[in-house]
């Protein structure tokens, strides 16, 4: 849908209001959405869609996906989580999953950054280099 400049600015303001110390506060987000639906200001659907987009992008930025070939023991999971928080700051949501096609090693994706140390990728790189 076409989001006007006004709606974009208002959504941005609401988004900034929901952040506490740079981190998104879930309760505030829920409150904002409920209030906007209740009060129905002009162009509220556009404002909400833009707001949803900003929230989605923020969650994606703070979502860390760790994929490994085999399930990781808890110490390693804790270590990885700690290191990632050290680099990227607090408020990181780390999820662990398994992907057998990786063969070995880890593939960590934090937002748009991908750290790929898996054996599959190294083999692919080796193949491409020929």
């Amino acid at each position: 849908m076409k989001v006007t400049k006004q709606a974009r600015q208002e959504a941005k303001q609401l988004f900034r209001g929901c952040t506490v110390n740079g981190l998104l506060d879930e309760n505030r987000v829920r409150q904002v959405v409920q209030q906007v639906i209740a009060q129905k200001p002009r162009g509220y659907v556009a404002i909400l869609s833009r707001f949803q987009r900003l929230v989605k992008l923020d969650i994606d930025r703070r979502a860390a996906k760790v994929e490994s070939a085999v399930p990781l023991p808890p110490e390693i999971e804790a270590e990885v989580g700690k290191n990632l928080s050290r680099i990227y700051g607090a408020g990181l949501q780390v999820t662990f999953s398994q992907d057998p096609t990786l063969i070995g090693g880890l593939r960590v994706q934090v937002g748009s950054d991908v750290y790929d140390g898996s054996v599959r990728t190294r083999l692919n790189n080796l193949q491409e280099s020929f």
Binding site: R53, L54, L57, D60, R61, Q109, G111, S112, D113, V114, Y115, D116, G117, T121, R122, N125, L126
Partner: protein
């Protein structure tokens, strides 16, 4: 020691195949050669983005929540939800002498089927033009072989001269004639083994042209033996707007390599009107705000940054040069339209071609009154300066009196002689296409014209007289021509010889 080397090598290989950090994004929308990508937080402006399957894109719009990228290559295979990666590189093209004689596309890939291109160096497509200190004033000539231009609107090495006119007035022909003449001069210079000889390499950038036209130009160049000194960069009308937008910059990068390495190059942009249209399409699809005639606001910057890269650099930086001949097509002779005025204000002069003159038979249809070269006689050899100094003035006087030409016998002798002289000069400057004239022959013919040897020849036989005189001078007086070319000036001895030669010819002409 050997274990130390092995250790280092093992460590280096370990680093290379180790964990790689990449920046990725997801394609959210793909249409018309433009992709909107979410993510890619580390992308920089104009950075190359890898879409997989050997398709790359250029990040042009960096917005708050997404990146707008234009796609170089086949965009039909790209799907929504596809992952893309940054490459950390700017768009680069291969440059160097390995490209001479080849026909390439925007990315420097060959399209003539003659095998891969050997090139060690790559230059970025977008580069900042040489600064003020690096430059030197223009004083070496570019001999186009077209008498009207070399005599009255001379072009120098490092100049930008705009060729502007309506459709089918001979704009591309001027460029092709220049390239053919440069090839001939290069061949002669190399054969003579002169150490101070500086060859001029050609780059022809075809933007938005019909492929049949491009093929015709290439075949003309091949017939004239000009391809070994020419690079052809094509982005034809069926190529994407992205390719057409980037082609002139890729050509300029190839020309800059010659300039940076102390050599001279000539680049012809055919044509920049279609380039502006392609840029307009790219900008509108990227949803950038549009201005006058729907062109984006920075269409002036588009052409100014392209043309400023043509320059003459000083000896300290190699004494190289890049001469640009941009071509602009006007509609119904309107030079005050948006894009023509933009490019006129950027270039160091223009060659204005008129349809009226073309249909009257004056070909090349150069309007001497409206054409200008801001470098002027600084780019002419002394011999040409001596003979052509007054020609422009005489033609201007003739144009003023042209209306009276109808009254014929009712005028005083002086006016009559001016009109007659003017008619003959116009006849002398007519020239068939793809037949450039060497500068020494031009000097000789103009000398004959200025010294009244043409005055008693009837106007409709002037061309015949000129052709036969040229043949006479090239075949029987080739020594004299060689002397003129070597001395580059008409001293008394050469003038006397010239007088004798032309008188001798005139006696044989019936």
């Amino acid at each position: 020691m050997s274990t130390l080397l092995q250790e280092i090598e093992a460590q280096i290989t370990g680093v290379r195949t180790g964990v790689t950090k990449q920046n990725v994004g997801i394609v959210r929308e793909i249409s018309d050669g433009v992709a909107k990508i979410e993510g890619l937080t580390d992308v920089m402006l104009n950075e190359m983005i890898d879409f997989g399957h050997n398709v790359t894109g250029l990040a042009l719009n960096l917005e708050e929540t997404e990146v707008g990228a234009i796609i170089l290559g086949d965009y039909t295979e790209i799907k929504q939800g596809q992952e893309v990666r940054t490459t950390g590189k700017l768009l680069q093209v291969p440059v160097g002498k390995g490209l001479l004689g080849r026909v390439v596309n925007v990315l420097g890939q060959p399209v003539d089927g003659k095998g891969p291109i050997k090139s060690e160096v790559s230059y970025p497509v977008e580069k900042i033009a040489p600064g003020i200190i690096k430059r030197k004033s223009v004083n070496q000539p570019v001999q186009t072989g077209i008498m009207a231009i070399d005599a009255m609107i001379p072009i120098g090495r490092g100049q930008r001269e705009l060729i502007i006119g309506d459709r089918s007035t001979g704009k591309t022909t001027i460029g092709v004639d220049t390239m053919i003449n440069q090839a001939r001069i290069n061949r002669e210079g190399e054969a003579a083994g002169d150490k101070t000889f500086r060859p001029l390499y050609n780059i022809y950038v075809a933007v938005g042209q019909k492929q049949s036209n491009i093929a015709r130009v290439i075949s003309v160049l091949e017939e004239a033996g000009a391809m070994p000194y020419t690079i052809v960069v094509t982005a034809s009308a069926s190529d994407s707007a992205t390719n057409q937008y980037l082609a002139p910059f890729a050509g300029a990068a190839m020309g800059e390599w010659f300039m940076d390495n102390g050599m001279d190059a000539l680049i012809i942009f055919d044509d920049l009107s279609k380039h502006a249209v392609a840029y307009r399409q790219v900008s509108l699809v990227l949803k950038r705000p549009s201005g006058r005639e729907a062109y984006p606001g920075d269409v002036f910057y588009l052409h100014s940054r392209l043309l400023e890269r043509s320059a003459r650099v000083s000896e300290k930086y190699g004494n190289g040069s890049l001469t640009a001949l941009p071509i602009i097509e006007t509609q119904l002779g309107d030079v005050s339209a948006y894009i023509p005025t933009n490019v006129i204000s950027i270039t160091d002069g223009q060659i204005y071609l008129e349809t009226d003159l073309f249909y009257q038979g004056v070909r090349p249809a150069i309007s001497v009154g409206l054409s200008v070269s801001r470098v002027g006689s600084a780019a002419q050899i002394k011999a040409m300066k001596q003979v052509a100094g007054r020609v422009k003035l005489e033609l201007a006087q003739f144009r003023e009196l042209a209306a009276f030409a109808q009254f014929g016998s009712d005028l005083d002798a002086k006016t009559q002689s001016q009109i007659e002289r003017g008619k003959r000069i116009v006849e002398i400057f007519k020239q068939p296409q793809y037949k450039p004239i060497p500068v020494e022959l031009q000097v000789a013919v103009l000398w004959a014209g200025q010294n009244s040897y043409f005055d008693d020849v009837p106007v409709d036989r002037v061309k015949e007289f000129q052709t036969k005189l040229s043949e006479f001078l090239t075949t029987r007086k080739s020594e004299l021509m060689g002397k003129i070319l070597k001395e580059k000036a008409l001293n008394d001895a050469i003038t006397a010889e010239l007088k004798a030669a032309v008188t001798e010819f005139k006696q044989t002409f019936k």
